[in-house]
């Protein structure tokens, strides 16, 4: 039954059938041909898989992200970042990374990060004579931080699918986020030095105090959200609700960047994004119920551990596999489908499921930057007015930087787990 379901699913993916439909079709086929279960179980699983309080954070973080994208906080965050790292050669490029890190700590989505920050920083970099393709490649890559630094929608999805604490996932994202942010900043700084870009980046920066004051309301947000989750005050879902209303009030009444007229399109986009993801979760819930019942994760675990002996090799193989998957399938969808299968196998190898989740997310999020289907890449190209081919050359070194970080995160478990050990 399992091989039938897997083959049907992958074949349907390849034929461009929507992921949720492919997963549901494979499951329905599996039930009808190989079990005596009544088909009514389809409806039961489609409901119970999404009837969960933790999962409600997904639509709320999506809505909060869309509100923040429109709410005028990105310009203030860019000014704030520039006042910190902007006063050296290449400072504007470095502040792109820092702004993405700050925005990531209020938003759980890397696409929202690309649009919110890219719309401001890419034109600014072009104005300061940086090459367009460099600006777009830098923005697309830095936006990966959107899902690595908490809060993060993919982490919620992993937490729910692999039955791991979402709070622990969030905290484990901090170390890797700082590592990737640091590595990208260093790489950007050195590249700008070598190529002589960004010599006049100092001009027009606000002073640190002034910039902090202007961005204060936006900077309080991560304190509320992340601080609340760490101290155990909020659950991630409660934090996501607070984020929605905070973003709405700031954007609408304080910064006045959102009007009543904008609310409709923001809601519409949020409903569509949420429905698309939640429908995949629902279908994947049915799918994983069937394969878990058939004992597949244990069988795959036994098979892999027969073929591969050391956890070291297992992680390498998994990373290669995820890198290829990430190129073709969207991050959230792959996490929902793969986490319930792979996480038990990782545990079998003695790998902490939180550590494994971070590896999956960093790796699959890289898929949003790698062609042929990189949503961040499309978004950054759209903002910069470039075609995909024009940016590839510049992108390669950035991808290599993230891959190097991924290797560190994979083989030095302390990077993700250090902060968790402080809190839990």
């Amino acid at each position: 039954m399992t091989s039938f379901m897997l083959i049907v699913m992958v074949a349907l993916f390849a034929l461009s059938v929507p992921i949720a439909v492919a997963v549901a079709a494979a499951s329905i086929g599996g039930i009808a041909f190989f079990t005596s279960m009544p088909l009514i179980v389809v409806a039961q699983k489609l409901m119970t898989s999404i009837d969960s309080f933790p999962l409600m954070a997904v639509p709320f973080f999506i809505l909060a992200g869309n509100l923040m994208e429109a709410g005028g906080i990105s310009r203030r965050l860019v000014d704030f970042a520039k006042s910190i790292v902007g006063n050296v050669q290449g400072g504007l490029a470095c502040s792109c990374v820092l702004t993405c890190m700050i925005f990531a700590s209020v938003s759980g989505s890397s696409v929202a990060t690309t649009f919110a920050i890219g719309a401001i920083i890419i034109p600014a970099m072009i104005q300061h004579n940086y090459p367009k393709d460099f600006a777009a490649a830098l923005q697309a890559t830095s936006a990966e931080l959107g899902v690595v630094i908490p809060p993060s929608i993919p982490m919620i999805l992993y937490g729910v699918s692999a039955e791991v604490s979402i709070g622990e996932m969030f905290i484990a994202g901090i170390g890797p986020g700082l590592l990737i942010g640091g590595a990208l900043t260093l790489f950007t700084y050195v590249t700008c030095k070598i190529n002589g870009w960004g010599k006049d980046d100092r001009e027009g920066n606000l002073g640190f105090l002034k910039a902090t004051e202007r961005a204060a309301l936006a900077l309080i947000m991560p304190v509320i959200i992340i601080g609340g989750i760490y101290r155990g005050v909020f659950t991630p879902t409660e934090a996501s609700v607070v984020a929605v209303f905070y973003a709405f009030i700031i954007g609408m009444f304080v910064y006045r960047a959102i009007g009543w007229r904008d609310v409709g399109p923001i809601l519409r986009k949020s409903v569509l994004s949420s429905a698309v993801i939640m429908f995949i979760i629902a279908a994947a819930g049915l799918f994983s119920f069937l394969i878990t019942r058939a004992g597949v994760p244990a069988a795959i675990g036994a098979w892999i551990s027969g073929a591969i002996e050391s956890p070291w090799l297992f992680l390498l193989a998994i990373n290669l596999f995820l890198f290829v998957v990430g190129m073709f399938i969207e991050t959230s969808a792959s996490i929902i489908v793969l986490a319930p299968i792979l996480a038990p196998v990782a545990v079998h190898f003695g790998i902490d499921p939180v550590h494994f989740g971070i590896i999956m997310i960093v790796n699959l999020a890289l898929g949003m930057v790698t062609p042929p289907f990189g949503v961040n890449l499309f978004a950054a190209c759209q903002v910069a007015g470039l075609s995909l081919e024009q940016i590839i050359g510049r992108l390669v070194p950035f991808v290599l930087v993230i891959l190097a970080c991924l290797m560190v995160i994979t083989y030095v478990p302390e990077v993700p787990l250090f902060f968790r050990s402080l809190v839990y």
Partner: protein, 181 residues
């Protein structure tokens, strides 16, 4: 005839979307109420969590219908983007046919499930008008309703896409907006 059908379909999808948007706002407000009662009044409300979850489920299944209509569902578009003319029409017809089949099963199973669950009550909420419990069937109903609306969406979308392909060869009426997170 076709114009009338397409007008009905547009009306249906517009109101499905409006309803889903309202449900998202309601779910957010109810969840905020939950946070407020827990932190400000230290007396967490008992009905809000299950209500928010139920609103959320309805929002999702109504939203899915519009997502089918807009072609917003995530897919690996590689093959789809590379086919032209008759091959493209064949692929669109095949994908739509499969989607219709899957949605029909979902609609039927959802209907059956709602029927079986009609005497089970949601814990913690009661009907504010009658004081009686609310049946879980009310939540399950989201699945058949959403699935039937989705079938309308699939047919309308397929008709639109096939018309486009006939007219231009390959043009894709896919939305320019990006819905991934």
């Amino acid at each position: 005839m076709l114009t009338a059908l397409s007008a009905i379909e547009r009306f249906l999808m517009r109101w499905t979307m409006r309803l889903a948007m309202t449900l998202l706002v309601l779910a957010a407000c109810v969840s905020l109420w939950q946070v407020v009662t827990r932190f400000v009044f230290s007396e967490p409300s008992t009905w809000s969590e299950v209500t928010a979850r139920s609103l959320d489920i309805w929002m999702v299944y109504l939203g899915v219908a519009v997502a089918f209509r807009q072609g917003a569902l995530m897919a690996v578009e590689f093959v789809h983007q590379r086919l032209h003319g008759a091959a493209r029409i064949l692929l669109v017809a095949a994908i739509s046919g499969l989607s219709l089949g899957v949605l029909a099963v979902i609609a039927w199973a959802g209907w059956e499930m709602a029927g079986r669950a009609r005497f089970q009550m949601l814990a913690g909420v009661e009907n504010p008008f009658t004081g009686e419990g609310i049946s879980i069937a009310m939540v399950y109903a989201a699945i058949p309703v959403g699935a039937v609306l989705s079938m309308v969406g699939v047919v309308a979308r397929a008709a639109e896409e096939i018309r486009e392909v006939r007219r231009t060869g390959a043009a894709d009426p896919a939305p320019q907006e990006i819905y991934e997170v």
